[in-house]
């Protein structure tokens, strides 16, 4: 970038645009963003782009291989499962389920975690101890095991799986928010905010919190990938999405029995999960590079 470009870019624009530009320049971050945009578009326009109804059975098209196989046909590009349902359509609708699930569970973790973490970081003392020890207890359980326990208690189903994944991810957000709030609390502008008569609540949410957003956004992006993976795990165990809902984890569980006869039934949902999680992780890393002030050049 030219000298002039640098000067105008840092003088006239909101730093947000510099960060966006930095994210776009980061190739892996951009790759992650592209993957996620493609998946999101697929999810939003699922009814328009999927060639078949995802739940439409077809007695004559059971276990059709993908198109590049000799027995494949243009009717089912990625083949069909044991009930003759179109794999591609099911994968596209599966993106809907996975993304909603990511939004809801990360949303739960983000809201509860930020609130708890901010209170712990701001008030310190016993509220901090109480909240963070509670978080430590949640973290002491193996991740997926705790989710299983919660779903077992609430009953299987996609909604309860989302809640369970949300709950197990609260500590991650709480810890990050607590650390950032403690960091920001020492800054002069917080004292200045007190000196103009802001209440504690206003200082936490209007003054400090907007300054802590960078690490939270990164964690949200990484958490999105983890949530999709966890949900797929729960569905695979039969605790998440219930048939006939097309969810990637459930599709793998269903295709497991016929992996030797029809590898595609299990492989394609696996690849979908892999790509989605990879996309969110790459984006998360890219965001961290773009937002972390210590890594700024």
């Amino acid at each position: 970038m030219s000298l002039w470009g640098r000067i105008t870019s840092s003088e006239d624009r909101h730093p947000f645009f510099d960060q966006i530009e930095k994210l776009f320049k980061n190739r892996t971050g951009l790759a992650g963003l592209i993957i996620i945009v493609v998946f999101s578009l697929a999810a939003i326009f699922a009814p328009l782009i999927s060639p078949h109804d995802p739940n439409e059975n077809s007695l004559y098209d059971q276990l059709k291989p993908p198109i590049w196989n000799q027995e494949g046909s243009t009717k089912n590009l990625l083949g069909t499962d044991d009930l003759g349902r179109d794999m591609l359509s099911r994968l596209i609708y599966g993106a809907r389920v996975s993304l909603t699930l990511g939004i809801v569970s990360v949303g739960i973790a983000f809201l509860c975690g930020s609130l708890l973490g901010a209170m712990a970081g701001y008030y310190k003392g016993w509220p901090d101890n109480l909240i963070m020890r509670l978080m430590d207890i949640i973290l002491a359980f193996p991740h997926i095991l705790l989710a299983i326990v919660i779903v077992a208690y609430l009953g299987p189903g996609l909604r309860n799986a989302m809640m369970a994944i949300g709950i197990i991810n609260i500590p991650r957000f709480a810890r990050i928010v607590r650390a950032s709030v403690m960091d920001e609390y020492e800054k002069d502008y917080v004292t200045a905010a007190k000196a103009v008569g802001s209440s504690s609540r206003r200082i936490i949410f209007n003054t400090i919190f907007p300054n802590c957003l960078a690490p939270i956004i990164v964690q949200a992006s990484l958490g999105f990938g983890a949530a999709i993976l966890d949900a797929a795990g729960l569905s695979f165990l039969g605790l998440g999405a219930q048939p006939p809902l097309s969810e990637w984890g459930a599709m793998i569980a269903q295709g497991r029995a016929m992996i030797l006869r029809a590898w595609w039934v299990m492989t394609f949902p696996g690849i979908a999960i892999l790509l989605a999680v990879l996309g969110f992780n790459l984006l998360g890393d890219g965001l961290r590079d773009a937002l972390d002030p210590r890594l700024r050049d």
Partner: protein
């Protein structure tokens, strides 16, 4: 308490409970500020002048700090006894504060106009347009050029001097009666410093607000204040009108400070800059008797025995020294 005293601090004690004992940052400090007056509070680093300012705003972090005693009357009300919710209505509204570091005292994620508007929103019920008008008016008051467009800028887009003007605008937004300026010009370079001080003097005349001006710079005090209090190790050593303090300082510490100011253009051979021997005592190990006796040029018998009382020399000149008993 007389009505003309806007602020009257009586025997204020602000202590910090820290490992190794009680740190008496402010010990038995009494000050008064009249309406429309600027009181300069001078002293070395760590003498408790900033803590005094923060105590008036009740911004001492509790714990480890605590206000161990004393009263602070503002417009006749002891603000140390106000509940926190009432105190919030005083901060930024009737008493406001200007900080030393304009670079870090503004929130980096909001526009400067938004931050000034926030102060108005906290204390007054104005419509959005009225708030905006008031912000622009305040920016004009602190001589920020092109206020209509500058309110949209973020702190990082402004220079240090401009940011300090924004801080002053924040302090002035609700027309306070008293402004506490804690080294407002120290972090700025000399030309900007002169501009800011000049601005504050003009604003004081325009708004009629009183100022508690905290600084370590005697030159600045001479320019700004009508009355001066000299602080040393948590106590007021001398208080006087600015002219009296500079023409005839009474306390040996004040005299020492005055003779430590470099004088330019005396002749070819500049005399060596005089200093006060020794260092400021640690607040943990304060000397017995007068706090200043081990660095003092005058040594009387009682200096290391008992603490001198505040002595009234007339003409509202007060000094804490055994010499004048």
């Amino acid at each position: 308490m007389t009505t003309e005293n806007l602020l009257e601090i009586r025997n204020l004690k602000t202590y910090f409970d820290v490992r190794g004992g009680i740190l008496k940052a402010v010990d038995d400090v009494s000050l008064t500020i009249k309406s429309g007056e600027t009181l300069g509070l001078v002293g070395e680093s760590g003498c408790g002048k900033s803590v005094t300012g923060a105590s008036i705003m009740r911004l001492i972090p509790i714990p480890p700090g605590r206000i161990a005693g004393g009263e602070i009357f503002f417009e006749g009300i002891d603000i140390l006894k106000l509940p926190e919710s009432e105190m919030r209505k005083v901060r930024g509204n009737k008493i406001s504060m200007i900080f030393q570091e304009p670079m870090t005292s503004l929130n980096p994620v909001f526009t400067v106009g938004d931050q000034v508007a926030e102060v108005i929103r906290l204390h007054e019920k104005l419509s959005q347009r009225e708030t905006r008008e008031r912000v622009i008016e305040t920016f004009r008051l602190v001589r920020i050029p092109a206020p209509d467009s500058r309110i949209e800028e973020y702190p990082h887009q402004m220079s240090g001097g401009m940011r300090q003007r924004v801080m002053i605008a924040m302090a002035l937004a609700c027309h306070p009666k008293l402004m506490i300026a804690d080294e407002p010009s120290t972090a700025l370079d000399v030309t900007i410093q002169a501009q800011i001080l000049d601005l504050m003097n003009k604003l004081k005349e325009e708004t009629g607000a009183s100022i508690l001006f905290i600084t370590h710079d005697l030159g600045v005090i001479a320019e700004m204040a009508q009355r001066v209090a000299v602080m040393y190790a948590g106590k007021i050593m001398e208080g006087a009108d600015v002219d009296a303090l500079f023409s005839e300082p009474k306390h040996p510490y004040t005299m020492g400070l005055m003779s430590s100011i470099p004088i330019l253009g005396i002749g070819k051979k500049q005399r060596r800059l005089s200093t006060i021997p020794g260092v400021v005592p640690s607040l943990f190990k304060l000397p017995k008797g007068c706090l200043f006796h081990d660095r003092c040029s005058v040594t009387l018998q009682e200096c290391d025995q008992s603490e001198p009382p505040m002595i009234d020399l007339g003409n509202s000149h007060f000094v804490r020294c055994h010499k004048y008993v």
